[in-house]
């Protein structure tokens, strides 16, 4: 392979890598897409597949909203197997403090033209009768959706190939100085190498501030009609987003099969075994909110790792440690949602175009001094 064949090599075949390849190819960038370390889908396969607008910070809100609009415009082109469903998110309030969070969120979303609806206790009980009756209402974000991310990633890869992207059958073992080295000894060169390897990205680019944040999920047998929306507790903001402690939050998702996907947990833990203590806490939390879950059968539990950054924003753009390395990683729990926005931002950056939102809040250089390995 000669240097200059590709304008860009994307390393990582999860949804972020696939989205990057699709955007780059669409925008006329000659791109190759290669798996990292034989890792496959990682969080793309392990996660919930929730397309959600979040507002932990203004930058997070902008990227999730921008990305959600991209998903909504892509939705009609996804096959039925991608299970895209506009079920909306219900943010439920358990007390008055969380109730005021509903008002704040409603006003913020309204300012940005995201339609939401405030639901009283009784309106909530009609929409989701399995929720415990004493809740203080909810905020319905209708534009949120769910999908089956592995198939969505596959569709993005196919879209990339249709626009001329080249998929490499191989495993990348190292990147740097314009060179990508595969396990079988092949070398590919390009002046732009995108590290989209998620939780594995620090193995390829030592020093990037990405840590594995473990999560657990459980899925039930089929109970059609049990649940109609993705439901997340507003306590999530207080507990799950603390950056240090282990935490659990009530977060359930209806699948098209009638199965209920139950989350969530957060731990800084690099092991992949199911931790029964935190799984138990997670399920107890779910039963607190939806008592009927206690008599549902769970057919599978598993774990995955989110690629977490210190400020809960992804790393998108040039890596100050090597002028040929660009990052598209660190999406933590929002990689499915923000994959499309990430890809558009990076593609526009390469082509010198402007985008609807600025790339600056996500540039790796924001985190200061590079720690060289």
């Amino acid at each position: 392979m000669t240097a200059g064949t590709y304008d860009c090599i994307v390393v990582g075949t999860g949804i972020v890598g696939a989205a990057c390849a699709a955007s780059f190819a669409k925008d006329g960038i000659r791109v190759a897409l290669i798996d990292c370390l034989g890792a496959g889908l990682l969080a793309t396969a392990a996660g919930m597949g929730h397309i959600v607008v979040m507002d932990d910070s203004p930058a997070q809100f902008l990227l999730t909203r921008y990305s959600q609009k991209l998903w909504l415009s892509l939705a009609d082109n996804l096959p039925p197997t991608a299970e895209f469903r506009n079920c909306g998110t219900l943010w439920v309030a358990a007390d008055n403090e969380e109730r005021s969070e509903i008002e704040r969120k409603h006003a913020l979303y309204k300012d940005h033209d995201v339609p939401t609806r405030i639901l009283s206790r009784s309106e909530l009980a009609v929409l989701e009768p399995e929720l415990r009756p004493e809740l203080e209402g909810a905020l319905l974000v209708q534009s949120d959706a769910v999908l089956y991310a592995p198939i969505a990633a596959q569709c993005l890869t196919q879209a990339a190939v249709a626009k001329g992207a080249h998929i490499f059958d191989g495993e990348v073992i190292s990147i740097g100085q314009g060179t990508v080295t595969l396990r079988d000894g092949r070398i590919i060169q390009s002046q732009r190498i995108v590290n989209a390897a998620g939780e594995r990205s620090p193995e390829l680019t030592p020093g990037i501030p990405v840590k594995k944040r473990k999560g657990h999920l459980a899925i039930t047998d089929r109970y059609p009609g049990f649940l109609n929306h993705q439901i997340v507790e507003l306590g999530y903001l207080k507990s799950a987003h603390s950056v240090s402690l282990d935490s659990v939050a009530f977060n359930v998702q209806p699948r098209l099969t009638g199965q209920v996907l139950i989350g969530s947990s957060r731990q800084f833990d690099t092991t992949s075994e199911v931790d029964h203590a935190i799984l138990g806490r997670m399920l107890a939390r779910a039963v607190e909110y939806m008592p009927g879950l206690a008599s549902c059968s769970i057919i599978r539990t598993w774990t995955g790792h989110r690629a977490a950054t210190p400020d809960k924003l992804p790393l998108i753009g040039p890596w100050p440690g090597d002028e040929t390395i660009f990052l598209a990683t660190g999406h933590e729990g929002l990689g499915i949602t923000t994959s499309l926005g990430t890809a558009e931002l990076l593609s526009a950056y390469f082509n010198g175009h402007t985008t609807e939102i600025p790339i600056e809040p996500y540039l790796p250089a924001r985190l200061g001094e590079v720690v060289h390995a």
Partner: protein, 81 residues
């Protein structure tokens, strides 16, 4: 004459011997259990709670393993919900 319990399976009233499992009651009254996602008929394979193939709705509670439950008077069983 053994003790009989009266129950309803898919709308039909049936009398089965006390002490029988619900799976056995379904087997003697019907040709199949639930259907798979692809529409195939399923039936009790292991009879000991491992295979989950004999699931049915019992007294409104879905997805129960009928091989692990004994028949009771007045029980209502639906195999394909």
């Amino acid at each position: 004459m053994p003790n009989l319990v009266k129950m309803t399976i898919d709308g039909a009233e049936v009398n089965v011997q006390a002490g029988a499992t619900v799976a056995a009651a379904i087997l003697i009254t019907r040709s199949g259990f639930r259907r798979s996602v692809q529409g195939e008929l399923r039936g009790p394979v292991c009879g000991m709670g491992i295979c989950f193939e004999c699931r049915a709705t019992v007294d409104g509670q879905p997805q129960l393993r009928t091989c692990q439950r004994l028949c009771e008077n007045g029980m209502v069983v639906n195999t394909d919900e």
